[in-house]
Homo-oligomer: 380 residues x 2
């Protein structure tokens, strides 16, 4: 038996850096005009301009989550990024349908939450309080048309065709997330330029829009190659990727790049609470679950009291995004017991460092690892 | 931007074959004395001697599932494999605790199932009918001691220490499945020589034994690197791997090999029903779920009527393996509506061909792919 030496130290790091974009598949790099095939996941409420700027400047694609911003805030934030870097940037929008108020469901939910409010002696939220998540609409679309970000990504499907057509005409590269092959085909048929294959490991809200069944959601390992087979556009792998191994694996599976979220939550640029940061630093592989109790839609977070006691999936949670409003008074109660601690399943792989340095290091290490995988062949 | 050419056709297939074991990590090959880092998953009721022989002869590790066999049958089957090939072989055993009969739970379950029996005009099963799954015990251990298979793998943890010590003294390489990092550490501490990291994508029974919570089970992409970081022994990746891309990804994630199940279910050597085979050939990525309705333990199968109507996870299912007995009369009813259609999430990636040829081709293609991933580096 011929023993194959690991070649982790068999190449020159400087060469890799200098050679820039020599990835096994550079379709995504060409499409977006970026140098590193890493998209920083837009994380509404958890990332802002500082993170986007750092990632853009490093050669990856920085993203601004816009679902919790007003159109004016979107404009300001994008202008701030543009002032700091000329690199392409991604604006991310939700495109859920605004649910009709269901008074009975809302009443039952508030009643259940009120028991916690009583426990912590806080006033329950005013009925009808704002949910804080805004779908992509005419006003937001006007901002996109005015400022033409290089990339626009959507979550929960795509906006209605007239809005989408306006984004298309603005020349933006359009992305959206698919959690199944059927969703990927649907997105490609409507003109997405690349598709984010969001495996079940991913933290935060699942992009699912053709199904509501979390039990059948595929993991990244199974999803990425099946989507790569099903569509012609480039595929970004997402879910469970927090170090160079995941990136190399994504390319092996047929992806042209990755979208990474949780690993960026540990950077100093992340806008998360100390409680959330601490939870991420001390969590392990088996402590997250998909839950709808924080917003009404399935999202992965570290299991806490609210998830344990009402879910993780609750049948009485109001439709997205209404479930969240009733929880607002409890956000800071119970040391993270009632606030979402969004996380994917690979938080333990993340290393806290600056978002720009993290992006560069991930890319460097992933390319090195991909080189070492071919070691056996190279020696012939 | 320097465009990196894909190197899929840039190496010589004959060279790869001739060079045999030049994998980026050959610890598993050395440990088991096999040539290809592919373990055929033991699939109780779905694979037998023909599949094990074909895989062993190809250079992978063939497995005999023993959980549904008597000790005499195990002996006969192993002797049959030994007569056909001198390559190492794996005997797989379940090591669940035999549950105490819970008459009330059993009654409720049978009552629920009886409605289906009435619909299909079949007689309900006799109360107390055999469950068909036997845990590893003194008698089975004696067979192992007598015939000393090169590898013994366990599912649902490990047997009690006195039995395990006898297996150890027989010189067998010992494997077991971990579905979390905690389980992997537990198995390594008890002397497992390698650990199967079973991601949530995997078909059939989950090996989980320190937790019963399916909601927190990690996917392969997240699980493999975290287990690889946590243990010193070699790791086999399992779950969602059905083609060369998955194998290459597994090595990228830090695995020393893979265990593949579903892809082998489509080989002619598989002992599955035509209904099951047809379901596998026509399923897609989003049609499986974890269910306990067929046996009492969570296992992944293609969603069918029983799973839809009683589950997929049911709180009234009796403990493993008792839930299965009541279903026996319904097995052939309703074209697969009441029999388990075990499948992982990547059945659509599998190509029906002989088990030996499949093993060789997977290995060949995986090595080629791993070589191509380093393409950018090789060109410098």
């Amino acid at each position: 038996m011929v023993v194959c030496e690991m070649r982790e130290n068999g190449y020159n790091m400087a060469d890799i850096t200098a050679s820039g974009s020599e990835w096994p598949d550079d379709r995504l790099l060409s499409l977006m005009n970026i140098n590193l095939p890493i998209v920083q996941a837009p994380m509404a409420g958890a990332s802002g301009t500082a993170m986007a700027i750092a990632v853009c400047a490093s050669g990856g694609l920085g993203s601004l989550p816009c679902a919790m911003l007003t159109p004016d805030q979107v404009k300001e934030q994008l202008q701030e990024v543009r002032a700091a870097t000329s690199a392409p940037v991604n604006l991310n929008f939700f495109c859920h349908d605004t649910p009709r108020a269901d008074l009975e469901t809302d009443r039952r939910w508030r009643e259940r939450i009120a028991t916690y409010c009583a426990e912590f002696a806080v006033s329950p939220a005013t009925p009808g309080a704002a949910s804080g998540r805004r779908p992509f609409d005419d006003e937001m679309c006007a901002v996109v048309e005015a400022l033409t970000p290089e990339v626009v990504s959507f979550h929960f499907g795509l906006p209605q065709e007239p809005l989408l057509e306006r984004v298309r005409r603005s020349g933006c590269v359009i992305l959206s997330s698919a959690t199944t092959v059927a969703e990927a085909r649907w997105l490609e048929a409507r003109g997405c330029h690349a598709i984010i294959a969001q495996g079940c490991e991913a933290g935060g809200h699942r992009g699912m829009f053709l199904t509501e069944d979390v039990a059948t959601q595929p993991g990244t390992m199974a999803l990425v190659p099946q989507i790569a087979d099903a569509v012609d556009v480039p595929v970004l792998a997402a879910g469970g990727i927090a170090d160079a191994r995941g990136i190399a694996a994504a390319f092996a599976l047929g992806a042209s790049g990755v979208q990474i979220g949780t690993a960026y939550l540990l950077t100093p640029e992340a806008l998360i609470s100390e409680v959330h940061r601490h939870a991420l630093l001390s969590t392990s592989d088996d402590q997250t679950a998909l839950t709808n109790v924080f917003s009404g839609r399935p999202a992965r977070g570290i299991v806490n009291r609210l998830m344990r006691e009402l879910g993780p999936m609750s049948e009485i949670a109001p439709a997205f995004p209404l479930a969240g409003a009733a929880l607002a008074p409890l956000r800071t109660a119970g040391a993270g017991d009632f606030a979402p601690l969004w996380s994917g399943q690979a938080a333990a792989l993340a290393r806290p460092e600056g978002a720009g340095e993290l992006t560069r290091q991930l890319a460097l290490d992933a390319r090195a690892l991909m080189g070492s995988l071919g070691g056996g062949l190279q020696r012939q």
